[in-house]
Amino acid sequence: MLDVSISYNRYKFLGYEFLTWLWFIIEKDQNKLQNSNREPVSLGIGSRMVLENASNDNVESITIKGDDADLKEAILSLRKGAVVTELNLSLKEGDQEWRFNIKGESFNIAGLKPPETGPVENQEEIEGAVLEKVFLYDKVIRLMDSLYKDFIKLRVTNKWNTEIVPLIKAWINP
């Protein structure tokens, strides 16, 4: 395996492309949104998106915030050569909701707010509370891993360039 710090920088575009692809399938191809058991999931763009355009000499960063933010500006940025570097996502299951930010370059999860759990009132309840929280965090992590796996398996095939990229381009430039 390559040196970790070299591979982190050299391949961070994979994370950006993943988030860009993820936004595309959220918008245009919802039936690809499946968990590791191949069950459909309800995943949507949350309240924040960060894009970066490094196609010119200067790196330009664009942040779009707000619960029902108009993403036209973000599409326009993609048209100019930007990629998505950070996404706030909302995962829903029944009446439960998880909100979290995912960074393309590091895959770090930040601000993860899982569905509400009961308060921990005494020491005896800690074990149960930990297991419940871990179970809830695991849903998000397994889902993101599964979606990333779907992406990377596409990305290493010709299908990426011959089928997927033209579809994404058509979405960006209708």
């Binding site: 895959f107 601000g111 297991l131 990305r155």
Partner: protein
């Protein structure tokens, strides 16, 4: 940020290698050898393991770090940070005192550095350290670990102390390492992966 907080940040790792049997004893020994020790007067910081349930007590009893199938404990980093303005004030007082005593108008660069160092040492012995607790969950069966912080410094401390304690390397999971190590790609696909370059999505 704690595992039980209402909002958390998670950095993910793959644990490279296997723990020596008996696993729980190996972990307990690693934790005890590198458990948190209270900061002494002259030090700026202290780093070590603490128990998840009692982060302010540095003892590990029995298998108190096992919850379900997970190994759960915390990294504690205590730091003494002297506020810049406090340091500036005390350096100014000390400089004035030294100038008055020597009858000179200026101090040399070396004298100023020595004052700063002396004042920092005195202040450090007077101020309490600020504790920071970062929880972690280690799934030994799946060789995965979640660290509940995204901060660079805390993650670096974790990687160092983890190796020192358990002789196992933590590999950060980011787009390339996830694809290379955990996505189940064939050798051929991994070869393609290493040669990929960015896609141009522009028209």
């Amino acid at each position: 940020m704690g595992l039980l907080s209402s909002t958390v940040s998670i950095t993910r790792y793959k644990v490279d290698g296997k723990l020596e049997e008996p696993v729980l004893e190996t972990v307990l020994n690693g934790l005890k050898k590198n458990c948190f020790k209270e900061i002494d007067d002259d030090s700026e910081s202290s780093t070590g393991w603490t128990s998840f349930e009692n982060p302010y007590s540095s003892t590990f009893e029995g298998s108190s770090f096992v919850i379900g199938t997970y190994l759960t404990f915390s990294l504690r980093i205590d730091k003494k940070t002297i506020p810049a303005k406090v340091l500036k004030k005390h350096c100014a007082i000390e400089t004035a005192k030294q100038l008055a005593e020597s009858g000179r108008k200026f101090l040399s660069r070396n004298e100023k550095t020595a004052i700063k160092e002396r004042v920092s040492n005195i202040l450090r012995s007077r101020i309490p350290a600020t504790p920071n607790i970062f929880d972690l969950v280690w799934n030994n069966e799946e060789s995965s670990l979640w660290f509940f912080s995204n901060t660079k410094a805390a993650n670096e401390e974790l990687e160092t102390l983890f190796f020192k304690s358990f002789k196992l390397t933590l590999i950060r999971l980011f787009p390339y390492t996830i694809a290379d190590l955990t996505a189940g790609l064939s050798d051929e696909d991994r070869d393609v992966l290493s040669k990929l370059s960015p896609t141009n999505f522009m028209g």
